[in-house]
Amino acid sequence: MSRIGVFICHCGENIARTVDCGAVAEALREHPGVVVAEDYKYMCSDPGQQLIKKAIADNDLTGVVVCACSPHMHEKTFRRAAAQAGLNPFVVEMANIREHCSWIHDDRGEATAKAIDTARTIVEKVKHNKPLQTIRIPVTKRALVIGGGIAGIQAALDIADGGHEVVLVEKEASIGGHMSQLSETFPTLDCSQCILTPRMVEAYQHPRIKLYTWSEVEKVDGYIGNFSVTIRRKARSVDEDLCNGCGDCQAACPSRRIDSEFDAGLSRRPAIYTPFPQAVPNMPVLDREHCTLFKGRRKGLAKDACGKCKETCLKGAIDYDGQDTFVTEEIGAIVVATGFQLYDIGREQPAGLKGYGEYGYGEVPDVIDGLQFERLASASGPTGGEMLRPSDGAEPKTVVFVKCVGSRDPEKGMSYCSKICCMYTAKHTMLYKHKVHDGRAVVFYMDIRAAGKGYDEFSRRAIEEDGAEYIRGRVSRIFRDGDKVKVWGYDTLSHRQVVVDADMVVLATAVRPQPGIGELAQKLSVSYDQDGFLNEAHPKLRPVETNTAGVYLAGACQAPRDIPESVAMAGATAAKVLGLFSADELERDPSVALVDERTCIGCFNCEHVCPYGAIEHRDVCDMEGHVCGHVAYVNPGVCQGCGTCVAVCPSKSVELAGFTDDQVYAEINALAGW
């Protein structure tokens, strides 16, 4: 039989001013099942908590109701206190008579009446509270890192150095990501390759890092601490154990006119290729889409149309018949570091985007984007670092840089600021001026956003020392005019139209999430915003967590990020993962759903509505042990306790601990005739 204690807090004057706490205690003492009801000035104070603990001991209470502030404020406090007094913390509830009562009413009579109702309601609820035990689930101490850019590499290294195994999955043939394509980095102008390559090699050689390149995450099952991840290893057509990276196959390949992804389309590569000299692993991959042999096979030719690479390979490492294979890894935590792509304003646009046809990108060869400029400036690039423009290989004497192309433009592009463009454009002007001393670098900008250590100094340097001409205003049209590229713009400071006859134009196009991020997000059941960036659990307090426990975000998959930020985020995710791995079990709130197998008919409505995929199918067997049906089972490790399954269960065969039908029924009942 219930023995409930009710404790009414004055909260100084905050409650007592409008609620007659004495009267509340008086009324509740009369309430069936209540054995003690006391009011006190500050229940959350130490003496207040002592008062509750003593009452629990003296009256052998089976439930406690604290009438005070919002449970969001002090539920933990009072549950802890009750636990110290030997009571199960989950039979303690709070009646909110401050935020929801004393602070919003002035009529003392009304407020007191409402406080009494509220207290009674919660008392009735508590009569049905069950003692609950915190859920403990085992943790597999292996991490998965998706994406082998600088963020992914950093996260993998930090976790591995922390003593745990890491599986690093990269969809390209080599790790390194966009950073490997950059020439120099702001604000120090140190060579990108030089600082990145050692990290790539370190990751490759790390005893606790298992690297899957040319691979993608196919399927993610399970939940925090207990993921089971299926990885598609795309057919590489090159045996990774046999290949010694000599490169003979690439020299032998007859089809050499394929746009190089690494050089952003500014150079050509063979069908079998290593993306770039410093690639890790240094091993080619056969691009079956462009390979003559596979084109032939797709056409259904009787005999193979080519086979040069196989003939040349002394190690016999080439395998034309290999298919995609799948490996499954047991994982405890997942770091997503899939990075970004640049908004391709030229070609077909996805729904909602209009593109910028007026800028001639993709039609005028000397209109390029930021990444292409990085390749032009890079010593490892198609021009060997010489500043030569794509169309005719001439040295451009006037280069126009346009910022915010597709950024901060809700009309035609993205509404957000892509964040890195201000800095890399400043860098581009410097790189250009350092190579073409008599050249003109003209920048069209909306604002110069250079918040960051040494950033503003850096962009000032571009203007003051290297003499980049910054024009505040937008560009309306870019088109070919003979061997020049005409740029029409407007100077909003001097209010005049500006026409520049440029030799080359560099567009700082918007930073967007990687294509396919949506599908990955669904596999991980992580939400994403209207622009496709993955959502963090809380914009301020949980910036690298997601709403799916055990999945973390690093780098530009969450928002436009520069290198220092990506690396910092990677470190943060590593800290979260190592924290998770520091215990053998992890604790979860026991407010989860439970299926009554006796009455469940296995219609699986619950499964359809569960946002977390927490519902599993369980066989029911008859006396002889033959399967005679299926029922739903809620995996307490996955369930987050929303209770949507409870509401859609027609036979009411699911309960949500802490919010059971019994409890809600009692609350509604308690309000009858108030």
Partner: protein, 292 residues
């Protein structure tokens, strides 16, 4: 209806099924029958009196029927939709049953007549109004001759519209009067092919959400819940209304909800179990005019 009988006979002879669920001539008109031997197949009939929705007997919890073995069941359009409902909710496996589809031109309101009545606006069942299935598609075999559209009868939609036109108070009066007759005998539930819970919510006593004492308040709770649980699932076979001993026009409520799920979510109940039910699915841009 020899084609039906032959089909049934073949299924039993070849041991493809152990029982054929159909209709037979009873002492007071057509009634369901469970034929387990080829010899008895001659008892099978199908005519305008075969109103009963035989999908009801596929409820896996009817152990005395499942005990008979694998079943073939004769289905009209509305029955086939009910079977789809059971498949959708994992109550059946398609491979576990054989569906004999009958071409149907509408059934009579009243099965208990010695000869099939000529279908007319007077005799045809209200359920047939707006029925779009002359021959079920989801079946394994189809028997019977092509059928005409059922005669136009009193339009359910018109009757629903008439109620919609009243003020809430008047509607409340109407239903209070109707529901006050309800004795909570749950015949509506038993007759419904989709009410197939092991333990109905009304029999859950902890807590007792629905008052079982047959006063209008308990009756409102029961019929609100019955209807809500069938929203987007009801196939409009009308068996609940026919089964009701006190003649409560449940068809109106079911029809209303069919309209609602169509207007709000563009959903119409179909023979395709792959189409998800409207409740339990959602679209991020679902209408929310009713939300402040």
């Amino acid at each position: 209806m020899s084609e039906l009988q032959d089909t049934a006979r073949r299924l039993l002879d070849e041991g493809l099924v152990q029982v054929v669920i159909g209709w037979e001539e009873g002492p007071r008109g057509a009634r369901p029958v469970f034929v387990t031997s080829a010899a008895d197949c001659e008892r099978l009939i199908f005519d305008a009196r075969c109103v009963h929705n035989l999908a009801t007997f596929l409820n896996p919890r009817r152990s005395q029927i499942t005990a008979l073995g694998k079943a073939a069941v004769v289905v009209k359009g509305c029955d086939a939709k009910a079977v789809a409902g059971l498949l959708r909710e994992a109550q059946l496996e398609r491979a576990g049953i054989v569906l004999i589809g009958v071409r149907c031109g509408g059934v009579a309101g009243e099965p208990a007549t010695l000869a099939p009545p000529a279908l007319s606006a007077e005799t045809v069942s209200a359920r047939c109004w707006g029925c779009d299935v002359r021959e079920p598609e989801s079946v394994d075999m189809l028997v019977g001759e092509a059928q005409p559209e059922p005669p136009v009868t009193a339009d359910l939609d018109e009757r629903v519209a008439a109620l919609d036109a009243l003020s809430p108070a008047e509607r409340f009066a109407f239903w209070t009067k109707e529901l006050s007759r309800c004795t909570q005998c749950y015949a509506c539930r038993q007759a419904c092919p989709l009410c197939c819970c092991e333990r109905c919510i009304v029999e859950k006593t902890e807590p007792q959400w629905i008052e079982t004492s047959p006063h209008p308040r308990g009756n409102f709770a029961w019929h609100l819940t019955r209807a809500q649980h069938l929203a987007g699932r009801c196939v409009g076979c009308g068996e609940c209304e026919r089964a009701c001993p006190v003649g409560i026009p449940l068809g109106l409520i079911n029809r209303k909800l069919q309209q609602v799920v169509y207007e709000l979510y563009g959903y119409t109940v179909s023979e395709d179990p792959a189409v998800p039910a409207p409740i339990g699915a959602y679209a991020t841009d679902d209408t929310q005019d009713f939300i402040e």
